[in-house]
């Protein structure tokens, strides 16, 4: 574990905890953005430049804005003083279960046993070619899904014309 990794990991985990525990929703969102940025830093640590910068572009640049807008448009940002009424144990147990499943899956996978990762430099070009050849079906399915979601959003947001109903 190197020092940069320790710093970035600490930042990521710390901001994730802050995102869960802060009272003010916008503060939570901003901490979450820091978590995204920390994740991008981790990707960069692993020499995955493309993924890291895409993470910043998509999550820090766009998804965070979406979250913030959703918070502003749906509820008051004023922090409330009363404590959370739901007992946290259900949530904690679900989280622990999810984490255990993931951890067991990772441990069971052969990734840890491999001594060195394949050294081939994955360029953006190869990524793109793979995406347009081997993985073109998932890509198209995703595109269709996103288009459907966008159409749905447009229909929900569309104002009914006078006397149309």
């Amino acid at each position: 574990m190197t020092l940069p990794f320790a710093i970035i990991a600490g930042l990521t985990v710390g901001s994730a905890i802050a995102a869960m525990s802060l009272r003010n929703m916008v503060h939570c969102a901003l901490s979450l953005v820091l978590t995204f940025a920390g994740l991008a830093g981790l990707y960069l640590q692993l020499n995955a430049e493309f993924v890291g910068f895409t993470q910043i572009l998509v999550y820090v640049g766009a998804v965070s804005i979406l979250i913030v807008f959703a918070i502003l448009l749906t509820r008051s940002t004023e922090p409330k003083d009363e404590p959370a009424t739901v007992t946290p144990w259900v949530g904690i147990s679900v989280a622990v279960a999810a984490f255990l499943t993931m951890a067991l899956a990772v441990l069971a996978s052969p990734i840890g046993k491999r001594l060195a990762a394949p050294a081939s430099e994955v360029s953006v070009k190869t990524l793109g070619q793979k995406l347009m050849t081997d993985y073109v079906l998932p890509l198209e399915v995703m595109a269709l899904l996103l288009t459907a979601a966008m159409l749905g959003a447009v229909i929900i947001a569309m104002k009914d014309k006078e006397g149309s109903r």
């Binding site: 910068f53 910043i56 572009l57 502003l72 953006v124």
Partner: protein, 410 residues
Amino acid sequence: MAELFAKLDALPVTLKHLLMGLLPGATPEWLVSVVSAVLTITPILAVFPLMFALTTVIERKGLGRIQNRIGPNRVGIPLTDIRLWGFGQFIADGIKSLIKEDVVPRAADKVVHFLAPIALLIPVLLTYSVLPFGKNMVPLDLPQTGLLFFFAVGASTELSVFMAGWSSRNKYSLLGAMRAIAQMVSYEIPLILSSLTVVMMAGTLSLTSIVEHQAGTHFGFLHNWHLFTPWGFVGFCLFLTAAAAEANRTPFDLPEAESEIIAGYFTEYSGFKFAIFFLAEYLGLFAMCGLGITLFLGGWLPPVNIAPFTWVPSWCWFLGKLSALIVLFIWLRGTLPRLRTDQLMGFAWKFLLPMTLINLVVAALWHMSGGAVHIGIRWVVGFAMLAIPYWLLGRGFEASVGKRVYRFAN
């Protein structure tokens, strides 16, 4: 002669090597890299803020002339009668903003309010790290992801704008932030799509390689700038439009429309924090212009490959092109009124986005037909494929905006 100019061209690089050579041999490696980084960053931090400072004066003078005024021409060297045509103005402005009281609203979210200008300036400065300013002069060469880095870092400024607007607890700030974010998110799409044509043609995301891709010559002397192709020309125009919107420049300056919402998202900032917002805005504009130069205007390449032009140092070409684009933006600011929000959004989604998509198709066709088809046919077809949609979409946009009817002026 040419050798001397080549030396002048490499002057910044040579200077850095000289300074690095002054380090004692036993210097640890991490210190060497830190010194190297500092030596690279310092000129950027010196040149571009200075350019910003001069631009503020030139902009005010230029706008004044456009409006048949004189503009600032008083402040020169203090305690003398030397006025320097008013170019001492920016020093006075800087001192003023440094010593002004820093007022933070009582209701403001102090931490976020404090962090917002920093979170805005840092990404803007980071964007400079991938721009090739001259031959062998790129601070951080990312061969795989140069352009992506620029857009990724540039996109994270939106959040700082939101932080500034929300933490001020002021309706004008929040309105300005909302407008700014809506505008930046909308115009980022045409911005990226118009740059994507260049990536398709050059086949790389590295900005240095993109510049080198434009080094070939047309007709023996004209450089192979992307501007000199149908898709490149249209792409450049679309890029500049989207860049103006990203940098909140007139006619897209709704986020800080003085007559409507005071100063937009930085209404509640004073003193040096205000200056930082101002600085970040202009530095963002310069970075956008620098990217436009790199992508379409041949970066640090001279326009023609003939002797006196090739003698001029490459970084001078870059700065010269940058200055020309800044002048263009000042000229546009003096000419155009501000758009309405609905016009702004309509323009992005109904005009710019279709145009960039068509431009992508044209660029692809241009690329495919390279070598096989006569260049004249490629030009005619490419031009027609862009001009006809431009005319149709423009008509549609103008019809949706409608002719302005004045109550008294007609």
